[in-house]
């Protein structure tokens, strides 16, 4: 049985944070969602200390084999999440990983402390693709910032801390090194690639926010290379993602050193993509090769 940081998973396919609202999906599809839950663990949409409405439309733009989004992390804020969403996410039949972002170490610490104290939460993912308002640096773009953040958060919980790496840096492996030195339990990559497009009808930026993040099969080769380079640099387990839409895609990430994978954009096209990718993965790889790969990464 695959596992991530000691969390046993029914299968090695997670969702990428922010690409599946299990509460909305349950309202749309009913309890069939729970009977046939597509992911081996569920990663929440990123929560922030205070509520956020998200960015002005337009928020999404289709690109060749992908899409750009500038959603802007709409969420109910820490307290709204804990009171309203967490009890409902706890009804999901898989381990729950909560994604957190904040712009100061103090706010990060407050969120991590409050979330980690909840028994329903198996692990925490740190979304570090945001500025530290004190230094002005994007935490996840700087190895020392990342290490310092982990230094501050590590003592707060024994639950696994997973650092979500941004791909928008020259050397993601160096940032992964900072996460490892700071005591992270795993890294997940990649987040979306910065991108933009103009609306041919107007010549203006297509997205309300001016730019966004590219995802989908278009980014997969970039993601694979970043997984490879991070694997070479650190010993942390890797949650690999970026344009996975089939079991064969997932197998590439596992072959390059990811211990589990996540599906994001493909779930928009196929709400059961996680389960499909897991099934394709199982049937496309010989069982002994899966176990060998898993052993190599322990």
């Amino acid at each position: 049985m695959p596992e991530l940081c000691g969390i046993e998973l029914a299968h090695p396919v997670l969702n990428a944070s922010g690409t599946y609202d299990a509460i909305a999906a349950r309202a749309v599809f009913g309890d069939a969602l729970l009977d046939d839950f597509p992911f081996g663990a569920f990663v929440s949409k990123t929560i922030t200390p205070e509520p956020r409405a998200g960015n002005a439309p337009r928020r999404i733009w289709e690109t060749p084999s992908g899409m750009i989004n500038s959603i802007g992390l709409p969420n109910k804020g820490l307290e709204g999440f804990l009171a309203e969403d967490l009890p409902r996410l706890a009804e999901l039949p898989v381990p729950l990983i909560v994604s957190i972002m904040a712009t100061t170490r103090e706010d990060f610490a407050r969120c991590v402390g409050r979330v980690a104290a909840r028994a329903e939460v198996a692990a925490i993912e740190l979304n570090v693709s945001c500025p530290n308002v004190h230094s002005g640096l994007i935490v996840g773009e700087d190895p020392s910032e990342t290490e310092a953040l982990l230094d501050a958060l590590r003592p707060l919980t024994e639950k696994p801390l997973i650092v979500k790496l941004t791909p928008n840096v020259a050397a993601p492996a160096a940032v992964a090194g900072g996460a490892e030195r700071g005591g992270a339990d795993a890294v997940s990559l990649i987040n979306t690639l910065k991108g933009t497009a103009t609306d041919p009808a107007t010549g203006e930026p297509a997205l309300g926010n001016g730019y966004g993040g590219l995802s989908g099969p278009a980014v997969r080769p970039v993601a694979l290379e970043q997984v490879r380079s991070v694997r070479a640099a650190v010993d942390l387990p890797i949650v690999g993602m970026g344009g996975i839409s089939t079991g064969a895609d997932a197998a590439e990430f596992l072959a390059l050193g990811a211990v589990v994978v996540a599906v994001g954009t493909e779930s928009f096209r196929d709400p059961r993509a996680g389960a499909r990718v897991a099934a394709e993965l199982e049937s496309s790889l010989r069982p002994e090769r899966i176990s060998e790969a898993a052993l190599d990464l322990d």
């Binding site: 999906a25 439309p57 779930s267």
Partner: protein, 283 residues
């Protein structure tokens, strides 16, 4: 009733012209029948993502007509205007081809509360490819004897896509339908709001409900006119949408007073007072 969980492959049963648009019919063997206003996410099973890598995402398309299918399930008719690579590919789906569908999704139009013979009843106002959900709504109102009128706007003789959805089996326009055309070749010369305005000014207008779907500028004009005359209005909106089930947060529509609705799960039918302004920025 929930939509079946996940997408499913459906056979394309027919594809016909409709005044410059296409009507593509698929057979859904598994799902419940849709309510008027609901939509499906559609993608072609093959040829989805051509030489330039698009279309990539499925397209949200509302249902124009539905009926039980021979052999079980429901037949779903979708009205398609080829405005981009996705709608172009869907519009050329041939009989016997396969399409992915997820749905039915979203909410639906609500019936007017007052349906007595003397009430203003329902006023359906449509234009462009937005006439599709109104065709299904009109059918439902007819079946349930809800008093209704239908007002449709078209540009000119060459642009009458979807008009046949409002014609009887003889091919003649149904008697409850009135037309406005910009070139005046038939119906009133002008805009559909020119047909709506005298109805809104009528003494009994406030007992009625306006139901509208169409281009953003038309919807905004209808929304504003209804607000001015204190007549209830339901608007079926469109918005860029990647998933259709609340996952992507792409289809954000600004709420009055701040914040956003997700059109896929909070709509696509919104009351006029739930909408700040219908704008091309998100429609």
């Amino acid at each position: 009733m929930s939509a079946p969980f996940g997408r499913r492959l459906c056979e394309v049963a027919a594809n016909r012209d409709s005044g410059g648009y296409r009507v593509v019919s698929v057979i859904d063997r598994e799902g419940p029948g849709p309510r008027a206003g609901q939509f499906y996410m559609l993608a072609a099973a093959s040829g989805w993502g051509g030489r330039d890598g698009r279309a990539f995402l499925p397209r949200a398309i509302s249902v124009a007509a539905t009926r039980p299918a021979a052999g079980g399930g429901v037949r779903l008719d979708f009205l398609l205007d080829a405005v981009g690579p996705g709608t172009a590919r869907l519009g050329e789906l041939g009989e016997g081809e396969a399409a992915w569908i997820t749905g039915p999704l979203g909410n639906s139009f609500a019936a007017p509360r007052e349906v007595s013979a003397g009430a203003a009843g329902a006023v359906l106002v449509g234009g462009g490819v937005g006439v599709a959900p109104l065709a299904l709504l009109r059918r439902r109102f007819s079946e349930h004897d809800v008093p209704h009128r239908v007002l449709l706007g078209f540009r000119d003789r060459a642009h009458t896509g979807g008009l046949d959805l409002f014609c009887g089996s003889s091919g003649a326009l149904c008697p409850d339908v009135r037309l406005a055309t910009e070139d005046g070749h038939t119906g009133l010369q002008g805009r559909v709001t020119d047909l709506l305005l005298p109805i809104l000014a009528g003494d009994d207008a406030r007992s009625g409900v306006v139901y509208s779907c169409g281009p953003p500028a038309m919807l905004e004009a209808v929304r504003t006119l209804c607000a001015e005359h204190a007549v209830a209005v339901e608007l079926a909106l469109e918005s860029p949408m990647a998933c259709g089930f609340g996952a992507c947060f792409g289809c954000a529509v600004p709420k009055p007073g701040g914040g956003f609705l997700r059109l896929c799960v909070d709509g696509p039918v919104l009351r006029g007072d739930e909408v700040e302004e219908v704008s091309h920025a998100y429609a």
